[in-house]
Assembly symmetry: C2
Homo-oligomer: 367 residues x 2
């Protein structure tokens, strides 16, 4: 069954279409938007090998002339050098403002392709075909695009909403176990900050989810897309509400940055970050111990880490100080008083944070 | 007298404040917007020498900590290399999302600074302090930011509205004659496509304008700001109406591109482009000969060129074919049936265009 979720943003509204096999409908769906006849497919070699034919055949059958931009795999796609190559290739292909950039891949491909689409001639049509759980439930929705600065991930970017997002749950069966599980951290995050009933559904069907049962996958992915869409349409440019999606990411990003992005998958770092945020809320008297343990239990049931082994705490704390969300020098934390609720806390005492990091390293709760 | 013009764009609305000496009020006006305490002043050496002290003193007196980014003069500021240096310096200065980028200078400084502000952390507060006529009446208003691609001017950019524009007519007395006159081409353009009464006012006071009479300058500049603001607020991202501001720019940009940006000042190329658009409208039976001559007479009265001497017509035509406004391969022309009116024409016959270019070269009218 194909589900359609609308992100209502006035004249920038768009559909997220979730369903098995939906990738091979991209051509007709794009044509229905009335865009120009030229399209650019941005992807990496592995993803192209798996899904490139279905997408290119659909686009060509719908009458699009197609240019292909192949980018490096993973985070290496998100460099200014790759963006410049993208601009060069678009110019050489005669791409104009009516043309469409189609991103096929995980979060990194979408971020890079979206940045090129946002900045070429001040904005082209953009379509997201996410192929990882992370990209399907989070990164492909909401218009955040970015490339990395050598010293700060996602430092350079723009808000640029896609015209269409096609989420095909069938494709995630090709993911490695680690990549698959990593994406589920964002699923858990959505439940914690926004929707208790959704969290309960994931708790109940964690086994089927891990076993990649297709109906369960489709329901859980569509549910996450719906949560993300409803948050984005209420706060497109993250002035306030959308910050809730940063739950677990303050410590998560710092863990990634302080280990040079080589040790944790993004979702693994977010999972530990969620445990840290949960314990911080408890330590500040905002959340019960049960609320903490419920979050950790679900993450663990999904095969995600919630403990730190050997991490340089000083480096993590320093990285938090450089957080992109800082406002005039203060880093706000998203905390969850209960499952399904969130609060922004601006005055987290450094000692509480240090205490939580120590606690996670020693795996015991000071309650 | 200080005039305030509001650009109404919902939560992105902002004021254009026009008045002698208004530059030295930037600190208190920025503080009133409630932004964070860090500001970055982007400017070039010459402009800083003339106006830097007034601006930095005002910002410091209002409590802002200030970082200065000095960029090359003119179009050389608009390179990816300079943008990268901007990102580096902002990161080193600890700039965050509550901080403000202040552009002090002509159109190139505003375009580059705006692009850096648009893309650093997906968007910082941005303030324009335009110091040329061109920037005051056109480039600083409306949120177009850009850098150049080695093979296409303004190819890479974003829409990013400023929070405030301060237009100080006193500063244009320091411009060279050529730079001063060049800016007036945009003033004439605004009258032709949008406001006959404004055009008549400029016709009547062309002498006082050229003599840089301050009350006349202030009235004419404020009038142009008002016209630009009313167009931008009706069509922020140039889906249709805002295209009228491209009047004279299709041929104008092509003249600049085909002479490697070394021969014409932007306003000079636009002036010839206006003459070309006027004659094209006449040739297509859309405008009277009188409407053509009235446009050329005003441009000439302001010391602007309306004839081509020796220009490679084939190169100009080829450059028009690469126009950024092309839609799926077709370049639309903005034409003026009468003073104060415009029309988008998508099917200009290549022969008509060639005829007009030949006509301008030989300075005779085929009527």
């Amino acid at each position: 069954m194909t589900q359609e979720i609308t992100v209502r943003l006035g004249h920038r509204s768009y559909s997220i279409v979730v369903g098995g096999g939906v990738l091979s409908t991209v051509g007709e769906r794009l044509r229905a938007l009335g865009v120009g006849s030229r399209a650019v497919l941005v992807s990496d070699g592995s993803v192209l090998h798996l899904h490139g034919d279905a997408v290119t055949q659909s686009l060509r059958a719908a009458g699009f002339s197609l240019t292909q931009v192949v980018v490096p795999e993973g985070e290496r796609a998100k460099s200014i050098t790759v963006a410049q190559r993208g601009w060069d290739e678009l110019l050489a292909a005669g791409i104009d403002r009516t043309s469409t950039v189609v991103a096929l891949g995980g979060g990194a491909v979408g971020d890079l392709a979206g940045f090129v689409a946002a900045t070429y001639m001040r904005g082209l049509n953009f379509v997201q075909l996410p192929t990882t759980i992370l990209a399907q439930v989070d990164a492909s929705i909401g218009g955040k695009t970015a490339i990395d600065h050598p010293r700060a991930k996602n430092l350079i970017g723009a808000f640029h909403q896609p015209r269409l997002v096609l989420v095909d749950p069938d494709v995630v069966v090709t993911l490695s176990d680690r990549e698959f599980r990593s994406g589920l951290a964002e699923v858990v995050k959505h439940g914690i900050v926004a929707d208790e009933a959704y969290f309960v559904d994931v708790e109940r069907h964690a086994g089927a989810l891990l076993a990649r049962d297709l109906p369960t996958l489709e329901r859980v992915i569509a549910g996450s897309c719906r949560i993300k869409a409803s948050i984005v349409e209420r706060d497109e440019q993250e002035t306030e509400l959308r910050a809730m999606l940063n739950y677990g990411h303050t410590v998560g990003h710092a863990l990634e940055a302080s280990t040079a992005y080589g040790r944790f998958a993004h979702g693994e770092a977010v999972s530990i970050g969620i445990a840290a945020a949960a314990r911080l809320a408890h330590r500040l008297g905002l959340a019960s111990l049960d609320t903490v343990l419920r979050q950790e239990r679900l993450l663990e049931a999904l095969g995600l880490p919630v403990r730190l082994a050997d991490v340089d705490q000083a480096a993590v704390l320093a990285a938090i100080g450089r957080d992109k969300k800082a406002r005039d020098g203060t880093v706000p934390f998203v905390l969850a008083p209960r499952i399904g609720e969130f609060r922004l806390v601006f005055d987290v005492p450094p000692d509480a944070l240090r205490g939580v990091l120590a606690e996670l390293t020693h795996a015991e709760i000071a309650s």
